[in-house]
């Protein structure tokens, strides 16, 4: 069973009331792969991530490492999550915040053990957060904060990382910085990554494959060049774009004909 995908999503469906938010979503993420989910607003990207995480009720199957689970609780040691807008508790120090990532390892009642401090120190070093450990998370800038939230996820020592719009609210430089860090960690830590991304060019540049989600279902999967086409983008995003071919992946630029 060597080729078993790290994440297997089969016929995933989520209903809010009598509205189908997601229907018949199926895809795989292979071990060590980085898959980006793109789609217009309201396509169900965040809901899909939450269903994979197990914090919203769903039907269908989500299997991580071959094991099917329904709830987030039992697999916090396997799947770590970086929310789009993390709740930042006022006054909590960076080191205490990263330590939260150890919750599933030490148990509800457990004290911080030596191994927990070692893992936290290790993560702090990897993400170069040494200078800010004693500061409070709410005093950090957007870019620093995103690295700290990433650090908390890494402290979970999970094999799979779910990132919900990790670049929102960051400027161009910090967007690249965060994604570069993710790429580096993916290699050094052997992580498997599933991310939702707003920016199509970034989605094409980072990661291996793209899943196009629209109206609650998967419309295309594959390498960026085959998914992010002028037609697909016009059809699902209602946007007129030009695509510039670049060695490292297509560059998508808005080119509305009504613009001039």
């Amino acid at each position: 069973m060597d080729n078993q995908p790290t994440l297997a999503v089969r016929s995933l469906a989520v209903r809010y009331g009598n509205r189908n938010v997601l229907a018949d979503v199926s895809f795989d993420v292979a071990d060590g792969e980085w898959v980006n989910v793109v789609g217009p607003n309201g396509a169900g990207k965040t809901t899909m991530l939450r269903a994979v995480l197990g914090t919203v009720p769903f039907s269908g199957d989500v299997a991580v490492g071959g094991a099917t689970r329904k709830q987030a609780l039992s697999w916090a040691t396997q799947v770590a999550y970086v929310p789009q807008t993390p709740t930042i508790p006022a006054g909590m120090s960076v080191v205490d915040y990263i330590m939260l990532g150890r919750t599933a390892h030490r148990g509800v009642f457990g004290r911080e053990r030596k191994v927990d401090w070692v893992v936290v120190a290790d993560v702090v070093e990897k993400l170069s957060l040494g200078a800010m450990v004693t500061r409070t998370v709410d005093s950090l800038s957007g870019g620093e904060r995103q690295r700290v939230v990433l650090a908390r996820a890494l402290a979970q020592q999970a094999t799979m990382l779910l990132l919900d719009e990790p670049t929102t609210a960051l400027d161009l430089g910090h967007q690249q910085q965060v994604l570069d860090v993710v790429q580096e960690l993916r290699v050094t830590e052997g992580l498997t990554i599933l991310a939702t991304l707003h920016d199509l060019t970034l989605a094409a540049r980072y990661g291996d494959r793209v899943v196009l989600l629209a109206e609650g279902t998967v419309h295309a999967t594959g390498p960026a060049e085959s998914v992010l086409t002028v037609d697909n983008i016009a059809h699902h995003f209602g946007a007129e774009v030009r695509i510039i071919d670049d060695e490292a992946g297509p560059i998508i630029v808005p080119a509305p004909t009504s613009g001039r």
């Binding site: 939450r50 995480l53 197990g54 914090t55 709830q71 987030a72 609780l73 039992s74 916090a76 040691t77 799947v79 770590a80 999550y81 929310p83 993390p86 709740t87 930042i88 508790p89 006022a90 006054g91 909590m92 120090s93 080191v95 205490d96 939260l100 990532g101 919750t103 599933a104 509800v108 009642f109 457990g110 004290r111 911080e112 401090w117 070692v118 936290v120 120190a121 702090v124 450990v133 409070t136 709410d138 005093s139 979970q156």
Partner: protein
């Protein structure tokens, strides 16, 4: 990397403050006693210890049977209410939360009012009916609010709203009962304003198990309270069941608060002010907020009681008046001078 070392010292300092408050509480009053004599007499209470305290027989009795039980009750009431406040603020992620939020005060008030106006008679057996009715009312109110709030998906907001509705309903009932029995007005009002007066050791002994239960469970759950600070969804993603933690914490904090108000009346403000003072001085982690709230809450209540019974000697001020009168300016001072952002 390891745990910051300041925490142990903070606990030691807090215990020191509580000991000084307790000694002052025992030594000062209508009859002031020498501190060394008080210490000697307290040591004498430890089995096997016998020192000459130099106190007269009357003074010894004042220490053992009057002041010490009262000080111990103050420590327990203040500690329990502060623990309850800290716990509620944690699970509801709301700086103004305390057990009164889910109707502990309103329920206890209604229970006590019914018992007083119904004139159920004094000392029905071992139990005084007023605290018993207050306890039943307080616990009933929380069960009602939690049940109603849980039906709405058990989100934090629905619980708070259910609590507000239940509290308003019970307060309206209490007003109605009181209106129909206006002769009991003074007595009910006096109960509401609160006191830590004792008749010997029965009240502190009654409250002790609740304090121990609340303290022990919250000490176990203090790291879970830190996790809850990031919200239910993230807590769940980190491997913590927020609903279960909330149920356990609300249960023990409410039981403790119900027991405290049933013996001491509706002393307000302590559950809000003490945990926030601790946060402003020592940081927001519940690793420290829980134990320090228990210790300093007790110390604060003992000092408030000392003021309540000495400021207008030989009369006594209601302690609920003193906690707010002393507590509010102190809290504003801490709020203005602290450079921490705690909420």
């Amino acid at each position: 990397m390891r745990e910051p070392s300041g925490s142990r010292w903070a606990v030691v300092v807090a215990i020191g403050v509580a000991v000084i408050a307790a000694l002052s509480g025992v030594a000062f009053g209508p009859v002031s006693l020498p501190i060394d004599g008080v210490v000697g007499e307290l040591l004498n209470m430890i089995p096997g210890v016998s020192v000459d305290s130099g106190l007269s027989g009357t003074s010894q009795a004042i220490v053992r049977e009057v002041r010490l039980p009262r000080v111990v009750l103050g420590l327990l009431v203040g500690g329990t209410l502060s623990l309850g406040g800290a716990a509620y603020q944690g699970v509801f992620r709301n700086p103004l939360a305390d057990p009164y939020l889910l109707g502990v005060a309103a329920g206890a008030g209604l229970g006590a009012t019914i018992a007083i106006t119904g004139n159920i008679g004094d000392g029905a057996g071992f139990f005084d009916p007023v605290p018993l009715a207050a306890f039943v009312g307080a616990v009933g109110a929380v069960i009602l609010a939690y049940g109603a709030g849980a039906a709405g998906g058990r989100s934090v907001a629905s619980l708070i709203l259910a609590g507000v509705a239940v509290a308003s309903f019970l307060t309206a009932m209490q007003t109605y009962v009181l209106q129909a029995n206006s002769d009991a007005f003074r007595e009910v009002y006096a109960w509401i304003l609160g006191r830590v007066a004792t008749s010997g050791w029965s009240e502190p002994l009654l409250l002790l198990p609740y304090f121990v239960l609340t303290g022990a469970v919250l000490m176990r759950y203090r790291r879970a309270l830190d996790v809850l600070a990031v919200g239910d969804e993230e807590a769940e993603a980190l491997g913590l069941d927020p609903r279960r933690v909330r149920l356990v914490v609300v249960t023990v904090a409410s039981l403790g608060a119900a027991a405290a108000v049933s013996v001491s009346g509706l002393i307000g403000f302590v559950g809000i002010i003490v945990p926030h003072t601790v946060r402003l001085l020592f940081g927001v982690s519940y690793r420290l907020v829980v134990p320090l709230s228990a210790i300093l809450g007790g110390a604060f209540m003992v000092l408030a009681d000392l003021a309540a019974r000495t400021v207008v000697e030989p009369a006594e001020l209601p302690i609920g008046v003193v906690t707010a009168f002393l507590g509010a300016p102190f809290f504003i001072l801490v709020l203005r001078t602290s450079r921490r952002e705690v909420w």
